[in-house]
Every structure is written in structure tokens, then in C-alpha cells.
Symmetry: C2
Subunit: 343 residues, 2 copies
């Protein structure tokens, strides 16, 4: 095909944000798609994953991955369809998952060793599922909970951001393991969903009351595993209710990502000492060589109807800046996706 | 023997301290020793262990052990000699280690299940060693480092309170395991001792310069294991220098025990996430069923001259309040002991 009739709209990082991301931190660029070289493919992006971690990638700080450079297309995971190929590895019409970036089209080589894509099968699960339960949020939940949280049947597992992409899978997996599962989420609607639709034993509405009181009521035996997506005051409060040998999984700290003041450290961290408890950070990429194991387990539970996943889909690439900020305003309900083109 | 000719001087808790412990927080009581009942022994206290943890036991807060009650003899570990016995388990003249409390004499039953004493042999090691390397500080260092820190040969092990009772043993054990060992201590004299006498690779004087600069200089490969006895700003600074999969052992937080404001939480705790690192609290009592293993290992290294221990001995039970406060003023140099009677 002739690719240069296609116009590629991109969101590039214009400035390093201070606090919440502003429109002026983005530069929108539209350029024609270039011709493919040998070994390259062209992917039309269908859905982009909106992740809290993206805020961290925008900071010029040492982290588990290099920061997005000023002027670079914003990093994002996405699913798309191959619409042109000069690689024997991918055929036109195949669906793929990978780091597409925030743009309409991804073009580049798919060498064995470079940035690459995984094929996904829309006949096995809806494409959006590959950005949710069968994608990074699902893998984060599955491996973070099992490997770091190490829950045992009968224990109490608490998860914050319970209606979010990672939280909903954490709780449902913990239920499959025979745990008492309590969520923390913002608002009655999210809490009702978590309990009634996902089958959590209880959910604490941090906007509607005191987390401390909620923990007393819903975790009467204390907390054995806390899967933390939010940090801040909620982490500090949970530290007062952990059990002996408790495991705290630090997956994220969404309450702190847009801080313009220093991060609030957990003042109650000496509860770790009193309770011989553990707090451990996780990054999903560490489990990459076993994603197939997590996908098989979660895929089976999905097929059997034992776990569900909720997605919140914003339409239109042009709405990317607003969509991203929804995460930090607690406005998304379920895994937040941006639909770039009709699937 | 007739025991009631003996006068037992005791330090009882008079008030719950706010901040540093004041003389008025103690009540000195002198009372005659009562007659022994069947199954009881009378122990003459020789040395008492002065431990940072004692400050925590004075607070009315949930912890790993119940608080000392107002009016109760202050809890302390000690070594002593049995001077009267109506128990078949202990003979007069035997030396013992146990929770004697801050007093001249301990009297009570030594049932199998109640509070009890371990026999110690002054022919194998000086009595003071049983309150140091072969006692709680040594067991804390040995099991905390090995079980929670899990150091591997070639890794960098950092320990704060390096000239203190636990720190000196942590560092020397880590050296035996083939690690690079760096201490943090207050003042040139302590740092010189740690390097020249104990064989640490380096020691950072937190009073004489920036800990951040010291870490850059002396831990050029980053920190794999941090054994933390102090908390506060030093913990926060170390968090910026940890390696992937680092292990932080939370043994204590002496900088925070006399706070009248909330404990300073580690603002840089998200370094745990970035580095997939772990922070875990330890309490020595958890390893009680394996103390004999730790004592055998440390005893062997002591015998071979591979590890040393330094003690700082204050004379006279009447000086207990001042001795205890030395810990929080950083005035002790080595394991702090109070000699109650000539050995």
C-alpha cells in the first residue's frame, strides 16, 4: 500500500509537567506516514491503554524505565492491526499488542531483538481485554499478588484502587484463592460495583467515610495482604491494621504522582517492625518471561465467568490529554482506554 | 539463706515519658527481699542490658510486647547469679541470663512455662558477652541479617548504628560472608573503630558530613542490604541509593523513639517500587527456637578471633536513668551495659 496518504496524528511531550498535566505539556503533530523499509511493519492503533504509570514516565527521574524525552511521542501500550508489512513475521490483518505510543500509526522494524509486538487473537477475547485482564494490568495484579503478596486461603486481602484496572483483578484473583477480599474505592457507585458485580466481600468508600472505621468494620481479623495502588494517607492508615507477617505490595501511589511537594512517606512504617511485616515494590516487566502463565490462568477464569473486567472507553485520540487526567481525578470506572479507531 | 536481710533497689515506671525520659518518670523503691516459696529462685543481678527498645516498652501502645505498666519494675534483660534456690532446675552459684528487670534482685518461680532463665557459662565467654554478641544484640544481628537481609558474597551491606551493639555484629558477620561492608556512625572515633578494629570497608560519619556524599563515595555499586537501626533522614537518604532487589531490614529507629511529633515516614519509599526492593521489620524473639544456632556460629567466630565486640559499661544501678538516655544521645560506644554488682 501507499502509506504516505495516511496522516499520523501524534502527541509528543512538549514540557515536563509540574503537578497535574496541562494541555501545554503536549505538542500535537500531524505528519504523513513514511514508506516502509524492509523488515518494517505499519500498525494502525485501535485502542490505547491509559495508565497511572505514564505520569511517572514524564518526569526526568531515575526509574525502572527511561523517561520520555522532550519532543518524543508519548509512550503508551496499545492494540492495533497490521495494515502494511515488509516483515515475514507479521501479516496484514493480524492484530498486535505492544508499545505503540500515543499516535494513530506505529511504523518501525520488528527485529527479534528490538521493540516488538505480540500477536493477539480477537476470536479468543475482545481486543480491549488485551489491555486489561490479559494485558499489563492483569499481569501486574496476578504476579504482584501471587509472588509478592503470597496470599493464603482464609487470609484477608485488602486492595486500594479496587475499581481500577489492577485492583479489580487483584480482588477477583484473591477470591479465587479463598481469601476474604476487601476493596477501597472512591464513591458508592464504585463500591457497589466491586461488591455486587465482582464479588468482593466488602468495599470501603474513602470519599464517603473514614478508612480507619471501614477497616475496623470490614477487616475485623486485620489485614494480611495489602495491595497498594494509591499510597498517601490510605497506606498510612492501613499500616495501623496489619497483622503479624503481613505483606504490603507497593504497586503504585496514584495519590502522590502529581505532587508538587515531597511525597508523603508512611509515618506508620514502624508497624512493619512491630508486626515483622514486609513492604515490597513490584514492576510488571520483571515477570515478562512468565506472562503466558498469567494469561493462561486469567484467560481460563474469564472463560469460566469466574472473573470479570470492566472497561471505561473514551473515544478519540484528540481527547488523550483529558483521558489521562481522568485517572488522577478518580474519574475512570474500570480500566481506562482510549479508542483511536474503530476496531 | 535468709533473704530478707537483702535490700532490693528497683526502678519502677512512675509516668509515661513524653520525649526524652526524665528522672521524674522513674520511682526508686527499696524493699526487703521476701522469703522464697517452693519452685522459686533468687537471682542477684550483675549486669543489665541497656537497649533502645526499652524506650518503646514505656509507651502505652500496641507493640510486639505489652507495655511496662505504671508502678511496675522496668523491664530489662540481665545476667546474674543464683544466690538462693528452692527449684531443682537451678543451683546456687549458677549464672543465668533472662529478663531480670531494673533491680538488684529477681525473685520468682522458674516453672517450665513461666518467665525463665537460661544458664550461661562464664568459662566459655565473659558474662557481658551474653548480653552482647551471644545475647539479644547478637541474635538480632545474626538472624536479622541472614534471614531478612539475605546478603550474598560480593554485595554491599550498609548498617547504621554501626558502633552500636547490633550494628557491630551485623557488619562483622557480613564481612565473614564476603560482602563489602559500610557502616554509618556518629563521630570520627566510632568510625575509626568500626574500620580499624572491626574491619568494615568504610564508615560514614553522619555528624561530620553528608550521608549522601558518603554513600556515593563508599557504596559506588549502590546498596544491596541496608540494616537500619536509626530511621529518620538517614533511612530516607539510603532509599535513594538502593539497588534492584535490595533488602532493607527495619531493626529499629532510634532517631524517632523520643519524638514528640509524629514519626517521619520515609518519603522516598517509592524507591522500593522503582527498584523492586523490600523493607521488612524484624523482632529477635521470633528466632528464639534457633538462638542455639546463632550462638554456635557467633561463638565460633569469637573464639577464632574473627569477630570482636566492644562494650561500654556504666557502673552502679543508681545511674540507670542516665545510662539509658546515653543511647538516645549517641553517647555509648559499643554495647551499653549497666554493672549492678561485681561479677
Amino acid at each position: 500500500m501507499t502509506t504516505n496518504v495516511l496522516e499520523n496524528l501524534q502527541f509528543r511531550l512538549a514540557a515536563r509537567p509540574v503537578g497535574m498535566v496541562k494541555d501545554s505539556d503536549w505538542q500535537q503533530v500531524a505528519e504523513p506516514v513514511r514508506e516502509l523499509a524492509d523488515g518494517e511493519i505499519l500498525v494502525k492503533v485501535l485502542y490505547l491503554s491509559m495508565d497511572p504509570a505514564m505520569r511517572g514516565w514524564m518526569n526526568d527521574a531515575k526509574s525502572y524505565i527511561r523517561p520520555v524525552a522532550i519532543g518524543e511521542v508519548m509512550r503508551a501500550g496499545g492494540v492495533g492491526v497490521v495494515i502494511a508489512s515488509k516483515s515475514p513475521r507479521f501479516a496484514v490483518g493480524e492484530h498486535v499488542f505492544g508499545t505503540t505510543g500515543v499516535q494513530r500509526y506505529w511504523i518501525g522494524p520488528v527485529a527479534e531483538t528490538g521493540p516488538s509486538f505480540l500477536k493477539v487473537d480477537p476470536a479468543l477475547a475482545p481486543l480491549t481485554t488485551y489491555l486489561n485482564t490479559l494485558g499489563m494490568p492483569g499481569m501486574t495484579a496476578y504476579f504482584g499478588l501471587l509472588e509478592s503478596g503470597q496470599p493464603k486461603a482464609g487470609e484477608t486481602v485488602l486492595v486500594s484502587g479496587a475499581a481500577g484496572a489492577v485492583g479489580q483483578t487483584v480482588g477477583q484473583v484473591a477470591r479465587q484463592l479463598g481469601c476474604r477480599v476487601v476493596g477501597i474505592a472512591g464513591g458508592k457507585e464504585k463500591c457497589d460495583f466491586v461488591v455486587k458485580e465482582l464479588g468482593f466481600d466488602a468495599c470501603i468508600d474513602y470519599k464517603g467515610g473514614s478508612v480507619r472505621d471501614g477497616l475496623k468494620e470490614h477487616c475485623p481479623q486485620g489485614v494480611d495482604v495489602y495491595f497498594d495502588n494509591v499510597g498517601g494517607d490510605i497506606l498510612d492508615t492501613v499500616l495501623t491494621r496489619i497483622n503479624l507477617k503481613a505483606r504490603i505490595v507497593i504497586c503504585g501511589a496514584i495519590s502522590q504522582y502529581n505532587n508538587t511537594t515531597p511525597v508523603k512517606g508512611p509515618a506508620n512504617y514502624l508497624s512493619l517492625l512491630v508486626n515483622r511485616a514486609r513492604m515490597e515494590g513490584i514492576v510488571v516487566f520483571d515477570y515478562a518471561d512468565r506472562y503466558h502463565v498469567g494469561m493462561a490462568a486469567l484467560g481460563q477464569w474469564l472463560k469460566e465467568g469466574k472473573i470479570k473486567s470492566k472497561e471505561d472507553i473514551v473515544q478519540g485520540l484528540e481527547n488523550f490529554p483529558q483521558a489521562l487526567n481522568m485517572l488522577f481525578e478518580g474519574k475512570n470506572f474500570g480500566k481506562l482506554l482510549l479508542q483511536v479507531a474503530p476496531a
